[in-house]
Symmetry: C2
Subunit: 241 residues, 2 copies
């Protein structure tokens, strides 16, 4: 492997900043691990467990304080695993969440973690968007990324061409049906579609499926994206049981 670079989208590898996401990678996708980076100051039970599981999987370790600072942008990141990125395929029959131009790394990480918790494992991301392999996202997912199938698309149409059968539920501020009503009769399989943090979904999405509104008072402009995804996914998952 060449000398390690700060992360960028073009690279074929990324990093798991921190002991916890590194352990998650080794638990779920050890075959993707390429190298263990440790700080000179790394110590503790978690670190020892990580070293052990890396040894068991033939993943070489090295002291790399400079690289850890560069990757994490922080001074207190004591371990990271370099891993090979992959392109997942979504499951054809399960529920999907489609994120249209999500731009905030923290939001994207929280959303992935929430969806794994709620049992939705297939996520389509429509570019331009935050990069799901960005170490900041990986950290915010706390490793959830490794248990999900996340696929990136250059347009909504290319997602749709692959999965034409899913009933679309675009979440929109002016959606014609309230969430409670929409979940009374859910068509399977479904795809919940959420727009950008600032601008939401373009108006034409209202014609593509059953536009849903999460009711909120007019004292706020909109709910935070990750909160909207949490509420919407919870309601659909439990309605569809």
């Amino acid at each position: 492997m060449p000398s390690l670079k700060g992360y960028s989208q073009e690279l074929e590898y990324s990093y798991t900043p921190g002991v916890f996401p590194s352990l998650e990678l080794m638990r779920v996708k050890p075959e993707k691990a390429m190298r263990l980076l440790l700080s000179e100051r790394a110590q503790g039970e978690g670190v020892e467990k990580l070293r052990q599981v890396c040894r068991e999987n033939g993943v070489r370790e090295e002291i790399a304080d400079k690289a850890l600072r560069r990757i994490s942008g922080k001074d207190n990141c004591f371990a990271a695993v370099v891993f090979e990125k992959w392109q997942a395929e979504l499951e054809a029959d399960g529920p999907h969440v489609v994120l249209h131009h999500p731009m905030d790394e923290g939001n994207l990480g929280t959303i992935q973690r929430t969806l794994l918790g709620l049992g939705i494992k297939d996520i389509a991301i429509i570019r331009p968007a935050a990069d799901p392999f960005d170490p900041r996202v990986v950290r915010a997912t706390m490793g959830a990324l490794f248990s999900l199938r996340v696929k990136q698309y250059d347009s909504f149409d290319s997602y749709r061409a692959e999965y034409p059968r899913h009933a679309l539920y675009p979440f929109m501020l002016d959606g014609s049906v309230m969430l409670e009503e929409a979940t009374r009769q859910v068509q399977m399989p479904y795809a919940l579609v959420f727009g950008n943090e600032g601008s939401g979904l373009p108006a034409e999405f209202a014609q593509m499926g059953q536009a849903v509104r999460i009711p909120h008072s007019n004292e706020i402009d909109s709910l935070n994206l990750s909160i909207a995804v949490g509420i919407g996914a919870y309601a659909f998952v439990h309605a569809a049981k």
Copy 2:
């Protein structure tokens, strides 16, 4: 007014970093505004609107680039209003949300904004906790703080002594009743109680009311606090209609 300090909890005033939260303060609680701080570089429609509404309310403006940097910790904060803090009283008959030791400023801000959107306006915060008047929280609420009644307590018991009638619903990872079931028959008025981001609620809360669990897969340890509050509050608000 003495010369402006960086924010600390002991001060009797705080700041609204940014044009949007400043406009919200002037819309909802203009009587609390003490002074308008502007950057030399401040310009645009929002800034002019803010200057106008401050003039109309007799709030003096001054150029204060250094203070803006100190308050916001950023170089791109062009306006802020200095405002007098207050202690709210909660409404005795409405639904409450009780946050027990929430420590993250961003989370606390997002939660306030979410609850205002869902129509729960009364929030008790049990210390130690992030300070709801901290400018970082004010920014994260996007001004929602000004439309809410937020009261801080030194213990859960002192909250409970003031509002003994509310039916308590502590949200716990091992809650004995699932959220869906809990919302089938909601006792009014209710208080939803959420614990700290890392450690949740102490075990004794299970005895104080109907402990509720938001079901999630064992692939994650817990939902993010702000997501849990969003899902829980949404479910209760809509069940109670």
